[in-house]
């Protein structure tokens, strides 16, 4: 399988006839789960993920008494691929969660100080869950885009007089999103850099680089994966490709 993919790549071809720097069609649909405070569905070709935001009132962490909490979690459901199994998240799901988390956290996408209700006592906790529906490759970019879309869509629930949350009544006040980070993953097979990989290409990759950047195209998080390496030139080229392709993903968010 890997040899086959490589043979194709050397000839300048991909299984689905795309160019190496060509993204599949990206669509974003907002408000797909009425139960969540915010939600979105992202499709990249046949890949589909749903992200949902739940808010709750919690005690802040002792080291950040005036800041809200942010938690990002990804589930690789056995529904979405024959390769994913039931049970607690494996290292693949954990890496996915953490890479997406880093892009959002390090870009300071959410103004966490605005989530403080009473310093040292009560803050809003923002929990973003990303769930895979169909894995046709590139879950990193799809998951990151779904997470930021769900946050864009998220509004606060009402707080009752006794201080508890009334989830049945939503306000029209949005979660304080001040940046819209985008993540783009560039993979390397042989000496070729490729974006938006298919599962077959992911299985054959030598190295992978996920780059997240903010509205001003400032790089804010990166993660290299895969067994191989990148040269200096390849890393610079990957960053250029990512920022260029980021425009397409940003357009899909509007």
């Amino acid at each position: 399988m890997k040899d086959n993919i490589l043979k194709y790549i050397v000839k300048g071809m991909r299984y689905d006839r795309r160019k190496f720097d060509e993204y599949r069609t990206v669509t974003v649909e907002y408000g797909v789960s009425h139960a969540a405070e915010g939600s979105a569905r992202v499709r990249i070709g046949e890949t589909e993920v749903i992200a949902g935001v739940k808010l709750s009132l919690e005690k802040p962490y002792p080291d950040t008494p005036s800041q809200g909490n942010l938690m990002i979690n990804a589930e690789l459901t056995p529904m979405s691929s024959p390769l994913f199994e039931t049970g607690p998240p494996g290292e693949q799901a954990i890496e996915l969660s953490r890479v997406i988390d880093r892009g959002i956290r390090e870009s300071k996408a959410i103004d966490l100080t605005k989530l403080c209700v009473k310093e040292g006592e009560k803050v809003w906790s923002v929990m973003v869950d990303i769930v895979t529906v169909n894995d046709a490759g590139n879950l990193f970019d799809a998951g990151a885009l779904a997470a930021i879309a769900a946050l864009k869509n998220a509004v606060f629930p009402t707080v009752k007089e006794d201080g508890s949350v009334d989830y049945a009544k939503k306000t029209d006040k949005h979660v304080p999103l001040v940046q819209t980070p985008i993540a783009i993953t560039v993979i390397k097979i042989g000496d070729q850099l490729i974006i938006d990989p298919l599962p077959e290409e992911e299985a054959a990759l030598d190295a992978r680089l996920t780059i997240a950047f903010n509205d001003a195209n400032m790089l804010c998080a990166m993660q290299k994966g895969g067994p191989g390496y990148f040269t200096t030139e390849e890393l610079i080229q990957a960053a250029d490709i990512a920022i260029e392709k980021g425009k397409e993903l940003r357009r899909a968010l509007d």
Binding site: A35, E37, E46, K54, S80, V133
Partner: protein, 243 residues
Amino acid sequence: MAAKAVKIDYPKRHDGRNWEDLREIEAKVGIIPRADGSAMFRIGHTVAYAAVYGPRELHPKFMQNPETGILRCRYNMMPFSGHGERVRPGTSRRSQEISMLTSKALMPVLDLKECPNSVVDVFIELPETDAGTRCAGITAAAMALADAGLVMKDLVASLSMGHYNGRIMADIDGYEDCDVGISDIPLAYIPTLDKFSLLQLDGDVPKEDLMKILTIAKKKAMDIYKVQQQALKAKFATEKVER
């Protein structure tokens, strides 16, 4: 949810439905290309996705049965799908029981003797819920099994009936279940066999009303059954036949 001790007056349904009306329903087959079979079923704001994988090799090996293949179902609410706080990922006592009941509800229409030692996995995921989730899951799973090309005696159509202050109603929603405290009766019906493969009751129902409930349930299940059949036909009508 258990019925409340003091029954409030509930003279008409809060969303304007008649007592025997279902919420708006929608079904789609083949929504997850990676799976061997898949389907979506929506009833009001309850949405269930189901994906079927298999028959495939069963692990761990000690669970293998040389006489027949087995059906394994997993029911799971997405963490943001509940009205209220986040649902922690992973299994709970509730989800494990529902997973088990789901496979028992589907087993009577399947025959897996042709594929010994193997498993048919059914994964049910709910992106949004407003009561009736196990029923929506079973309804979606039946379509997904048919989409996977498994030999089946029939589909299974499932819905939840309600009983309150002597009144029988179909397809109770989250408000009616939790806030009003209507007795909840989830059931699954196999139309061509005229048999029930799921029946539960949470609450109180006079024995005299059971027959009426089952009769109405059958009628309403037939409405769901028609939508299931249409969704399956729609997928295979659009699928290109390669020669």
